[in-house]
Subunit: 232 residues, 2 copies
Amino acid sequence: MRALSIIPVEGIGEIAVGDDLAGIIASAAELRDGDVVVVTQKIVSKAEGMLEAVDGDDPVSHKKIVERESVRVLRRRGDLIISETKHGFVCANAGVDLSNVERGYAALLPEDSDRSARRIRDGIKARASVDLAVIISDTFGRTWRRGLTDVAIGCAGIGAILDLRGSNDTYGREMLVTEVAVVDELASAAELVMGKASDIPVAIVRGIPNEWLRKGDVRSEIIRPPDEDLFR
Amino acid sequence: MRALSIIPVEGIGEIAVGDDLAGIIASAAELRDGDVVVVTQKIVSKAEGMLEAVDGDDPVSHKKIVERESVRVLRRRGDLIISETKHGFVCANAGVDLSNVERGYAALLPEDSDRSARRIRDGIKARASVDLAVIISDTFGRTWRRGLTDVAIGCAGIGAILDLRGSNDTYGREMLVTEVAVVDELASAAELVMGKASDIPVAIVRGIPNEWLRKGDVRSEIIRPPDEDLFR
């Protein structure tokens, strides 16, 4: 393995409905073949117009949107709702978020974040003639562990899971269950240079092995089907 | 924010009981002040002698150790047990692992991974005169999402959680619930250059903000107390 670089992309600026994210990213960053471009959900939702008016002084207004965006509520405690979204994500408040959004609006998750990733990837390819991967990231909580980490909610041009089943460990023993969620690890790595309070919504991870670059998506690879799931 | 580098440390070699990990790491890598040294649990467990003989041809032998290392079993399906360990981790098979261990042995989790991290950190400081952070990483599954990611099971010299409560988002609105589990994101970032089948058990993350370096530990910061927990 060689070293990786995690590079914050400066100068993205405010994103508004209809903005051409691919063009903006291609102008702001020196992109190379094989890069992984990690884009936060917030600016994808803004560009795609996934904003909804909310009365910021009325918590019920926010809660109503969360209930509507949930297909199933798993747990409630106080104002917190852990629910499954129509996309299959299980997260707090159905991914509906008031932070880093203009006052009076809530940001919903993109309709289809894998499709959003594909569009951005295709747009960058058309503009900058580079072949790379795109990940849409969001900030989720975890069971049993405090604190939030960024995970991938969509991807394109990269396998979401690196399947090492069938390869051997260093003792020559076949590894039976080792599927690494590399898109989630890449989203977490990118978050380290973004920071929640800063205005860096895009980062590049440079140097991943070329074998990781393939057709891939979060929906079919990462979302655990309910029948496999022990905690739903 | 500036760019980060994730650097694999080559040449660690096989680790045996009693080996001086701090010395081995300090010899293998050019370490700098402010680096984060991520060390996989497997070599820490080996150095600390946390190995137990197991009959590799008898799955019951492995299962007995898993049961003993569990203080509470949350779910069972087939051979898989999701349980809480005495350290407070909730993970598959109580962290007892047969891969990348000599045949005939299972690796248990270190007794106290925060203490292990502190010892390695102090040892490196004594040998190489550098002030840095150490994270002990392990590979865990997640609820609702397929695939494994590396997380921190111990740390020293770095805050496990970056608490952004009280800081403002880019719209000047105070962020209420934003505690980032940076040690878990750093463990995931490091995994990207390790690879499960390769023999890279140590990686360096270089370039994190100096403010992140402080006294910290996984046990008190990351482990979610049962009364806060909605899924136990």
